[in-house]
């Protein structure tokens, strides 16, 4: 068991600490990506690591995502455990072949004989007017494609534990951090982005959801920054006498379907909240899980809140209109309860 300490870190510092501790423990772990060296990663995931480990293990790369992600695959199949950073998940368009046709398929094609132990970490999410090529989440796109695990932490504790699990995993793991949960000084202040993080190394299991808040009247299943939105909504709902359970899925692949079913069997109502595009994505998958496995427990048709199938717009009012928020979640829950 891990020992809880009172030490608090931001999610960003928790990620960097996880990488540093694994690099200290295992000489085969190294990181490569754009601006991860002197800069420390645009979102700070490798902050301070260049000084600690040197340029051979914290490798700045050219802007060549196909080249360096493909190189990470070759390094992973030849004895190393690379962590490659794709600066924004939106940039997947220039390197998706290496990700889904290569990284995610080699183990299967080889009949289990070749392992690809690598982490592909990447930043996601909007809310700060960065427009449609720097604000998407896209985790549903990756989760749809077999062969890679997909983890999306919402808080500092999980961020460290999931990163350590991802590095130690013998499979390719896509580790997606939402910019809004990192606690960056240049993003809108988010008190939930700072929290207690044990100093020692520990793991959070990939594929296990967590109940972020217990409740009895409705399940709000969500992930990443929308966990914070759901917790804010649950506080508002409590003052209206509604007890909402917030389920933080934490991993999309594997998806903890039992946790979804357990919660729905308890609350009998399900709202799924996602900052990804609505159609063909996470919300549909979670609702299907509930309908297939707990149909008789449902007192109302499951509902969802997600990006309404438009690219993420730039102007503040436009973007805020399409993003999930606590008010939308409160309204969604109330609508479910009166259904």
């Amino acid at each position: 068991m891990t020992t809880m300490t009172e030490r608090k870190l931001t999610t960003q510092k928790a990620i960097a600490e996880a990488i540093a501790q694994e690099m200290e423990r295992d000489d085969t772990v190294f990181a490569l990506g754009e601006d991860i060296g002197v800069y420390g990663g645009i979102f700070g995931a490798t902050e301070g690591l260049l000084g600690q480990f040197g340029a051979d293990r914290i490798m700045d790369t050219p802007i060549s995502e196909t080249g360096f992600i493909g190189a990470a695959i070759g390094a992973a199949t030849n004895g190393l455990r690379p962590i490659a950073e794709l600066m924004f998940v939106d940039f997947f368009g220039v390197c998706m072949d290496q990700i889904y046709n290569n990284m995610a398929k080699i183990h299967y094609f080889s009949g289990g004989n070749v392992k690809v132990p690598m982490v592909l970490m990447t930043a996601a999410g909007g809310g700060y007017s960065d427009a449609g090529q720097h604000s998407q989440t896209l985790w549903g796109t990756f989760a749809h494609l077999p062969g890679m695990k997909v983890v999306v932490p919402s808080n500092p504790y999980d961020a460290k534990g999931l990163m350590i699990s991802a590095i130690r995993d013998d499979n390719p793991v896509l580790y997606i951090f939402h910019k809004g949960v990192l606690g960056l000084g240049w993003m809108t202040n988010n008190p939930r982005a700072t929290g207690p993080v044990p100093e020692e190394a520990y793991t959070v299991p990939i594929g296990k959801a967590a109940v972020a808040r217990e409740g009895t009247d409705v399940t709000i299943a969500t992930i990443s920054l929308s966990v914070h939105r759901a917790l804010d909504a649950a506080e508002q709902l409590e003052s209206d006498g509604i007890s909402a359970e917030v389920l933080d899925l934490r991993s999309l692949v594997p998806l903890d379907r039992e946790a979804i079913l357990d919660s729905v069997r308890k609350t009998h109502r399900l709202l799924v909240v996602d900052e990804d595009y609505q159609s063909f994505g996470m919300t549909g998958e979670v609702i299907t899980t509930a309908v297939e496995g707990a149909f008789d427990y449902l007192d109302a048709p499951p509902a969802r809140i997600a990006i309404p199938d438009v690219p993420i717009p730039y102007a503040r009012v436009l973007e805020q209109f399409v993003l999930p928020n606590a008010d939308k979640i409160v309204a969604g829950v109330k609508s479910l309860l009166t259904a």
């Binding site: 493909g70 695959i73 390094a75 030849n78 004895g79 690379p82 070749v114 695990k149 013998d170």
Partner: protein, 328 residues
């Protein structure tokens, strides 16, 4: 520089083996697909890209490799895989989609993977190039004196992955050798219609590495150029790019009507068949006697026949095994 006699004979033997393997696969592939060609039918279904004619580039490289050296190859991988010494039975069984195959029937002929020898290939043009760079990066980091060889076609040299890979390999001074198999056609499009310069080896200068053109489809010519590039990489002196002018004797895939190449062109390829030419040279120079040649042919054909029998007699995978091996 003198070439050891056993290398000369090994290159010939391997060429014989590759050619006979491709001929047998071709025969089996078509046996149950005609008269009405059905790509999904038969013992060996799916697309089939055979490498008859391209043997020299593979066999000329291999004498310089050692255990642990990594190869990434293309959608047309058999000649390289056989030359590197993949288990021929398991490789053949994979092509037949059998449970005993290298990938237990999950990959097929474009997706052959082996850890020893260290081999991978891909159905996507240029996909293996950055992977070879990564293998070389691992060798350097782990202090091994292994090298990585990336085989790719001349069509791949217009992909971004080619340029990104050469840049990274040179930037990081990695032990990788890029070997372009220029068979002059990217499916139907001739090189002159797709590539702004005549020789991809000239592109090496853009990345500050040596670029060497091998203008003949000849194992000895490949051998000599590959020897220098591989020795250079192994010594820590960085990557090289080699382009070999070779011939794809048959269509892009089996069943390809090959109407985009003129009869004259196809006849000229037949007239300069590298296997025939190399055999003649070895006989003429006294490296091989006619009896030696016959013995080689008998042995190599026997190994191929044995591998095909093994594949044929192997069980299909259990259908539900489709669900295994997504994750380790």
């Amino acid at each position: 520089m003198e070439i050891p006699q056993d290398h000369l004979v090994d290159m010939y033997s391997t060429m014989v083996k590759i050619r006979y393997f491709e001929e047998r696969i071709r025969e089996i592939y078509f046996a149950d697909k005609l008269p009405a060609f059905d790509i999904a039918a038969g013992e060996v279904p799916g697309e089939m890209h055979l490498a008859a004619g391209q043997e020299p580039v593979a066999v000329g490289t291999m004498p310089h490799l050692k255990a642990g050296d990594a190869i990434t190859a293309t959608h047309r991988p058999h000649h390289v895989a056989i030359a590197q010494g993949l288990d021929l039975k398991q490789m053949t069984a994979e092509i037949f989609g059998k449970a005993t195959g290298l990938g237990r029937g999950k990959g097929g002929h474009m997706h052959l993977f082996s850890t020893e020898p260290n081999f991978g290939c891909s159905g996507i043009i240029a996909e293996g190039m950055p992977v070879a760079v990564g293998a070389a990066l691992a060798f350097k980091k782990l202090g091994k004196d292994n090298v990585a060889i990336s085989f790719f076609g001349e069509g791949a040299a217009n992909q971004g992955a080619f340029h990104e890979s050469l840049n990274l390999a040179a930037l990081w001074n990695l032990p990788v050798v890029f070997i372009c198999e220029d068979n002059a056609y990217a499916i139907s499009v001739p090189k002159a219609a797709s590539t702004a310069i005549a020789d991809n080896s000239d592109r090496a200068s853009a990345y500050g590495m040596p670029g060497v053109l091998v203008p003949e489809n000849d194992p000895v010519a490949v051998y000599e150029v590959a020897r220098e590039a591989i020795a250079r990489a192994r010594a820590g002196d960085g990557p090289s790019l080699i382009e070999v002018k070779t011939d794809r004797l048959w269509g892009h895939f089996e069943g390809d009507a090959d109407a985009y190449r003129t009869d004259e062109y196809k006849e000229s390829m037949g007239g300069r068949d590298a296997l025939v030419a190399y055999e003649g040279r070895l006989l003429e120079e006294g490296v091989l006697t006619a009896a030696d040649r016959d013995a080689v042919i008998k042995k190599m054909h026997g190994e191929v026949d044995e591998a095909i029998d093994f594949a044929r007699n192997s069980p299909d995978p259990a259908p539900e095994d489709a669900l295994l091996h997504v994750f380790a």
